[in-house]
Structures are given as C-alpha cells and as structure tokens.
Assembly symmetry: C2
Homo-oligomer: 344 residues x 2
C-alpha cells in the first residue's frame, strides 16, 4: 500500500530539483547556498502539494524528536497538576516541542517502565515531577536522558531542580502580619506537617515554618503558638482552630499552613462569631482558587504552579544542565483578610 502522504521526494520532483535540495530548503537549514529562485520553487511546490514533514522519519535520522516527557508521581493528589501542565505546555509550545504526560502512581516499577517507554521513543528530555515537594531517588534509567526535577530535589544535588521558594513565602506571610502590627498574638495552624516518613516535617512545611519564624525573629518577636496538625483536609484546620480558640489567649492573627486548613479555620472562626478581619486576621498559603472563594476572601501566598511547569521545561530545553536549585517566588495575593492590630 503506497502512502497517501506527500513526501519530500514528491516535492522535489514537482519542483524539478534533487531530494537533497528539497531537504535543505524544507528543513530550513542554513549554511548552504541555494538560489533564491530554486528555493521559492521548492517552497511553492511544498505549499501546493500540502507537504508536511514526517517527524518520525526526521527523528529516526536526527535522533531528535522535539518531544519531552513530564512524568508525575501522582497527578490526582492535588488540584494543581493542571496548572503545572499548562505552564509546561506553554513553554514547550514556544519552542516547538510536544509534551508526553505520564504518571507513576509513586510506584518505582511503573516509573522504570514509563521512563523506558519514553527513552524508546527517543524523547529529548524527561521532567520528573512530584505533587508535594520532596527528595527523590533518580533511577539509573532516568540518568540516560537529560533530566530536570520539578517540585522535588535529588539527594545528591546532581540535577537541575525547580521548587517553590517556600522559605521566602513564609517570611512574606509573617511580614504581612507584622507590618499590620501583629507582634504578640500570631498563631500558626498546621505546623511542620510531620508524617510517618518525615518526623522532622514535610519539606514545604519546614521551609514555610522556618521562614515565618525567621521573620518574627528579625522583628524582635516570636510566634504565640503553633498548632501542629494534619494538612490534608479542612476538618483538621477546623479542629485545630477550635482548640486554639478554647485556650486562654485569644489569637489576634492566624497563619494557616495551607488553603484547606484555612477553609476549616474560617468555619471554626465563624462558629465562634469571630469576624475576619475585624476580630482576627488570617493569612494562608496555597491555591488562588480556593482562598478567593472563602468569605471573606483570604489573603494568601500562593504556589506558582504555572511558573514551576514553565521553568522546568525552559530549563530542560535550554540545555543548561547545570545542577542547581531554582527557587520560584510564590505570589502574594492581598484579599483583605488582614487588618491592623488593635494595640498597634
């Protein structure tokens, strides 16, 4: 069965030139002088016949596919994956690359298989992405192609990594309250988010907390309290906030370690008839969508998902394989949930 497709040979024949001449012109390579007239004839023929290069054939020859792979551990773990993908797509499209997406489900065997499949298809590079910032082990298989780590770090610092700048974010959050005069009654709901595997606390949490504490210290004060709790659902933020409100000292400001906790905190505050921001100031970290949906909307320092995806792809395609940690600034959205401290 002959191909129905228009090939480069067809174009050459139609234009009355050699296949190599057609190749030079159509692939737009420089350094070879082809008469303008011939060039135009070739371009015209291509246009006329509706020629399209066969990328598969090109790839076989050049060993470049103009594709990259974005491999997630668990896409469904958060609502953010879409935005990361969007950022990655944007950067890829700008540089004429297409994006494979895959998911390992955090299973090393699946990861191995997927990376293998990607390699078999000769992708130009692989981005390994985690849904929550953490340290990962990079497999041997992985090392065979250009690699960038997205929202994760490798233990030996051998790769280019892109992560949100959590520490600065923590500093910003605390600074917002400090600037409004909240020096004494600032509590944190969430804390270090310790889990079975990370008794010292989850990476993002550690960084946020150390940023918060550094800012307080720099201002010559300190947190009034930290309520450590699970970050996964509003329920935990609700309970943590309730227990906080039952204590002797009513807080004047609360920092919620993520938006889900902030939802719970709002619920608890409302039940206690505490108004935001009149009675209590609130700031959270997280996802622009959620924080803005609260009533009133909550000021938050948000994860730059789009930018994370974008940067990872840019880095991979820039051939700058320097191992380095690229910290992407988190973005501040003031939404009016902070008011000046009474005693200020």
């Amino acid at each position: 069965m002959p191909s129905l497709r228009v090939t480069q040979a067809d174009v050459a024949r139609h234009a009355g030139v050699s296949r190599s001449a057609a190749s030079f012109v159509l692939s737009g390579r420089e350094g070879v002088r082809i008469p303008v007239e011939t060039r135009q004839r070739i371009m015209g023929a291509a246009q006329e016949l509706g020629y399209r290069p066969n990328r598969t054939a090109q790839s076989l020859r050049t060993r470049k596919t103009q594709t990259i792979a974005l491999i997630f551990d668990d896409i469904g773990a958060t609502h953010y994956a879409g935005e990361m993908i969007q950022g990655a797509l944007e950067a890829a499209l700008e540089r004429d690359h297409l994006l494979y997406i895959a998911e390992t489900g955090s299973d090393p065997v699946t990861e191995e298989k997927l990376v293998q499949e990607m390699t078999d298809r000769q992708v130009d590079g692989v981005i390994l992405a985690a849904m929550s910032t953490r340290t990962v082990r990079v497999s041997e298989q992985m090392r065979r192609n250009p690699t960038v780590l997205l929202n994760c770090l490798d233990e030996f610092g051998e790769f280019a990594c892109v992560v949100p700048d959590e520490e600065t974010a923590g500093r910003h959050a605390a600074r917002l309250l400090l600037d409004a005069g909240h020096r004494e009654g600032v509590h944190v709901v969430g804390g270090h988010h310790t889990t079975g595997g990370t008794p010292e606390g989850v990476f993002a949490a550690q960084k946020r907390m150390s940023g918060i504490e550094a800012a307080m210290e720099a201002a010559g004060t300190r947190l009034a309290g930290i309520i450590e709790c699970d970050w996964s659902a509003p329920e935990h933020g609700y309970r943590a906030t309730r227990s906080l409100l039952e204590s002797a000292f009513v807080p004047t400001a609360v920092i919620c370690c993520n938006d889900r906790l902030a939802i719970g905190a709002c619920q608890a505050l409302r039940e206690s008839e505490l108004r935001i921001p009149e009675d209590i100031s609130l700031v959270s970290f997280g996802d622009p969508g959620l924080a803005s949906w609260l009533r009133p909307p909550v000021t938050s320092v948000d994860l730059p998902h789009h930018e994370l995806g974008r940067t990872a792809v840019s880095l991979l395609l820039s051939d700058d394989a320097t191992p380095a940690i690229h910290r992407i600034p988190m973005t501040l959205s003031r939404r009016g949930s902070i008011t000046a401290a009474r005693d200020a």
Copy 2:
C-alpha cells in the same frame, strides 16, 4: 558517530541468526514458526545485551506509534483536568500507549497547528476535550485521524463522544429530596446558566435542569422556584441564596447547580443561622473534593472526570469508531446534608 544503542542487528548477530528471525521473535508476532531453541537464543541475547526496540524506527515502518493525543481547549479553566488526564493515562497505559497532552486556549489557529503537529508525529488517534460540555466544530485537519470527542459533541453527530449524563444526574438530585419528603419547598440556585453565546443556557445546565424538572413532575409536583445566576464563583451562589432567603417563603431544600454555588449558599445559610440539614436540606453537583470540604459536607452528584478520560481513550483504542454519544453516569455521594421534610 555510531549509535551507542543496541540494535536488533546486534541481537541477531549475537544469537547467530538472521535479522528477520530476530525481528519476528522480538516483536512477538505470531504466525511464523521459529524453533523454540532459536527463540530462546534470541531472547537470551536481547536480555544479555540489554536490547530495547527503537520505537521511532518501528513507527516509521509500521505507521503506528502507540501514542495518542489529548487536546484540551483550556486546561486551567477548572480544577478537573488532572482527573480526566489521570483516567486517560490509566486506559492508555493498559494498552501500552503513551499520551501527548496539548492545549489550544480555545484558539482555532493553535488547534490547527497542534493537530498538525500531532499528525506529523503519526499519532494513532486524537481526543478533543472541552472543559465545559458544549458543541464543537471539528476541523478538516482533525478528521484525518481517528477522533473521539471528550466532554463535547459535534454538531452533526459524526463522532464518538463521551459526556457526563447530566440529565440523569439532575433526576437523581431531585429524587434524593423527593424521597426525603421535600415536595413543596424545593428551590434551585443556578438555573440554566445562560450566557451571551447560549441564551438557552449552557449544555450541562439545561440537562441538569430538565432532569430535575422531569423528576419533580414524575412525582406529581414542581419546583418552588429557580434563581438564575452566574455559576462561576461562590459569590453568585451567596447572593442568590440571600435573595432567596429574603423572599416570603423560606425554602425547605435547595439544589445548587454546582459546587461553587454550594459554597456560596452555605455561607449565606450560615449567616442566616439556618442549619444544614436541620433547617434546610442541600444537594449540589460537582467535584467530590469541594463538596466534602464544606461544613457539614454536602451531598452531591459528581462529575465522573476520571471515567470520562478513561472511556474516551478506551473508545479511541478499541477502533469502535461508531458515531455515538456515550453518557457516563455521574456518581452520587451522600454526605448527610439532606434530612426528612418536617411535614413528611
């Protein structure tokens, strides 16, 4: 520069057989009898040398790439894209396919370009996905490869489409309330979601409403009222619910047309000191994540994002190109926001 890769020829040489024998065995094709001993020798050699097929070369030859493209209009428009992708990935992986993801930004020119790029790479099929259910025009370019429409319909019914079964969902939502004895005071917040482009209402909204109304009618009653409003943010649900509460007849039950409206409705009800479900029953449509985060969690009929993605891929790879509308059941999650009507 010689390839560093182990090729099929290397395996054949190592095993002392012809390249075609190696090809037969390694590609696992049937119908040709190769002695078991030879077969084992080839497999052994492949294993030993760490042979991996070059998919690019295979593709060039067979015109099959074992890849499909999933092209979205706007990934960022909702938080759901991740789940759809996850479902799609799952089905693709099961059948040894890899997935390209792309986004058109609802721009026909970008769509054209992307479909072209996919075609140039010889994808085995294309899925066109919309973030909100609607009718789309399928371009000429698109028609050149096997196509499935995800969360959208084509105007002439020429393609296989996968959409959520909104009408049945509407029926279920109403039935939940009816079964609890709510016959008279049932109000809808959201309505037909009419916009500039769709004066008759957005597809999903129309279907949900007609399902709701059909169920009411089948029970010999009707809605007490419909408050038409924008579906995009909790703010609108809040205002709609407030206006509802200000009217003479206090509702006994409210159906919110999506989860964002439900968030707003909860906020309004709480301000009026109406408890869910003691004073008022609530049911919504949407996203399991959001509805379960409300306090109390709200019973909802949820979009089957995962299943939508899964089905689209399955359909595409099953070669069942029959044009048909596949309606995927929406899933009901009872979360206790409905209680028996007082007069029941």
